[in-house]
């Protein structure tokens, strides 16, 4: 950047969680060597790759496929499991000077609680995100397609920690507000919206699906309008609940669109594959955008959209 330092106030709060800026990196799109390229300490928060109880191998190759302005992935929550994560990943994560949000996924309601309880013992975890919406492991039936299950998972997880708990929802539902409401009933401190949208790619010459697991989750700019609509619906229906907007965000303008639609913060996923420094470059671009619009505090934009969803789509 050049010129005089820009002074817009980027700080936001998600309930009791205060962030210096609203930009986080999304679960499953950050880790390993990315912190060699990206200045993690400047982020609003890091959301770790979803942690499962046991190690998981994940799905066969090919696990990603580019689609128009997006990509499909069928990684399948591969990972070292709880113990492996604490041993291999935690030493690096605990050095991050930004907020740290741990994402967990259990095979059962109880396992969510157990994961949160065990990870809650780590000294500097700032919040949890419940991944109840991974389309790659649940054979099409995500917990977060069922409001009653969603409520249970959140309740059990909340009972296991005093730190904020966010429920990450799937867009693969007709009525996302019903699920968001259930999560809040269960005690969620906020909603992360959204995970990937189930999709498919076909290699017609081979008469075969393009990715190993046949279907996968769509992310990237192609997902953005759907994510934006869902964030707007949730925020209209539940104006007091902090929402983290996720889906196709790749520029500072995208961030501001989600915030005007009601999001208090955002996560960057696929854009980090396109440019590993996308998140910090977006943070750098925000003050200029705000100044040009005469906005001095980014939080003043949250939910300022002139249109409100009347009632959830059905």
């Amino acid at each position: 950047m050049t010129g005089r330092p820009l002074s817009a106030d980027l700080s936001v709060t998600l309930g009791s969680l205060a962030l210096p800026n609203p930009v986080m990196v999304a679960s499953g799109t950050f880790g390993a060597l990315m912190d060699r390229v990206l200045d993690v300490h400047r982020l609003g928060a890091v959301v770790e790759k979803t942690i499962t109880m046991d190690p998981r191998k994940g799905n066969p190759h090919p696990r990603v496929w580019e689609t128009p302005s997006g990509m499909l992935n069928s990684i399948g929550l591969d990972g070292p499991g709880l113990e492996g994560w604490i041993k291999k990943r935690w030493p690096a994560v605990q050095e991050y000077r930004c907020k740290v949000i741990l994402s967990v996924s259990g095979r059962t309601v109880e396992e969510f609680g157990e994961l949160v309880r065990r990870l809650d013992q780590l000294p500097r975890v700032d919040a949890f995100e419940l991944n109840i919406s991974c389309p790659n492991v649940s054979h099409g039936m995500d917990l977060a397609t069922d409001p009653a299950m969603t409520e249970k998972v959140v309740r059990v997880s909340k009972a296991a920690t005093r730190r904020p708990v966010f429920a990450k929802l799937t867009p693969n539902v007709t009525d996302i507000v019903a699920v968001a409401r259930a999560a809040v009933e269960g005690g969620a401190d906020g909603i992360s919206a959204v995970n990937t949208l189930r999709g498919m790619a076909v290699d017609w010459r081979k008469r075969a699906p393009a990715i190993g697991a046949v279907t996968g989750g769509l992310s990237g700019p192609a997902l953005k309008p759907v994510a934006l609509r869902m964030v707007w619906e949730i925020c209209s229906a539940l104006p007091k609940v902090p929402v983290i907007g996720i889906g196709g965000i790749s520029t500072a303008d995208d961030v501001l669109e989600f915030m005007v639609a009601g999001a208090s913060a955002v996560q960057i996923g696929t854009a980090s594959f396109v440019n590993a420094q996308a998140a910090t470059q977006i943070i750098d671009a925000l003050p200029g955008k705000l100044e040009a619009a005469g906005v001095s505090r980014i939080r003043d934009l949250i939910g300022t959209i002139t249109a409100k969803a009347q009632k959830p789509s059905s």
């Binding site: 499953g28 799109t29 950050f30 880790g31 390993a32 060597l33 990315m34 060699r36 390229v37 790759k49 191998k57 994940g58 190759h61 090919p62 696990r63 990603v64 496929w65 580019e66 128009p68 302005s69 997006g70 990509m71 992935n73 990684i75 591969d78 990237g220 700019p221 790749s250 696929t270 980090s272 594959f273 396109v274 440019n275 590993a276 420094q277």
Partner: protein
Amino acid sequence: MAGIYNGDATVVRQDRYSTNCWKMTLAVPRHDAVEAGQFCHILTEFSTDPLLRRPFSYWDVRDGDDGTLHVDLLYTVVGRGTEAMARKAPGARMGYLGPLGLGFTPKPAKTWVFVAGGVGIVPFYFFAKQARARGRNPRMLLLFGGRTEAMLYGIDDFAGVGVEAQAVTEDGSRGRKGLVTQLIEEQLPALDRKDLQVYTCGPERMMEAVVRIARREGLPCEVSMEKHMGCALGACGACVTRVLSDDGADWRYSRICIEGPTYDACRLVLE
């Protein structure tokens, strides 16, 4: 500049190498020294479609006379990303992330045999050049297979870095007609197997055949894998191949962008 560089690269030159193959020189700020076998991740267009980066091996890396690093890529046009690259003229910019991954291990063996198919040839030119520059003097033998002569990319450059090249083509347009695996079988009896190191890169089925031969003959072999990638920094889990688990009892998926793309063939679990 040390470290992994993430930023713009400027196209300095672009030449057609053969029918479907191009050589592109990029200028980038000086970064970590490149080990042959490493790769860079190229953003062919600043657009949302195509969206993701594409991985490419280094054909050559030199200091440019303008204080930058000059990186040569040799690539074939197979889809939209490589089509976009082929359209770039000098002065054009692309996104560059590199160097990435682990390079080949220069082994003490007296003879190095490079077994390559198609664009799998790319890492071997720099490997030979770098080894010679570092004073390593094994005999280097390249066994190179392609569909036709036009697909024996860069074969005539290898003499300049002290590599004896032998070719096979599927149509017999250059060298013997046949497959590169037949060429290995033919050459083996004349080589000192106790002091031999094999390196291979090319289409998956070719590499699997090479690994099988190496295992049968008890030859040490290093393989450079090719998989679809997302981040190329080990974060996303896209680029996996099966390797023996650390206790050897089971297999696990290994992310080739950080644990590879080069692997000791002993560790690979063929699918």
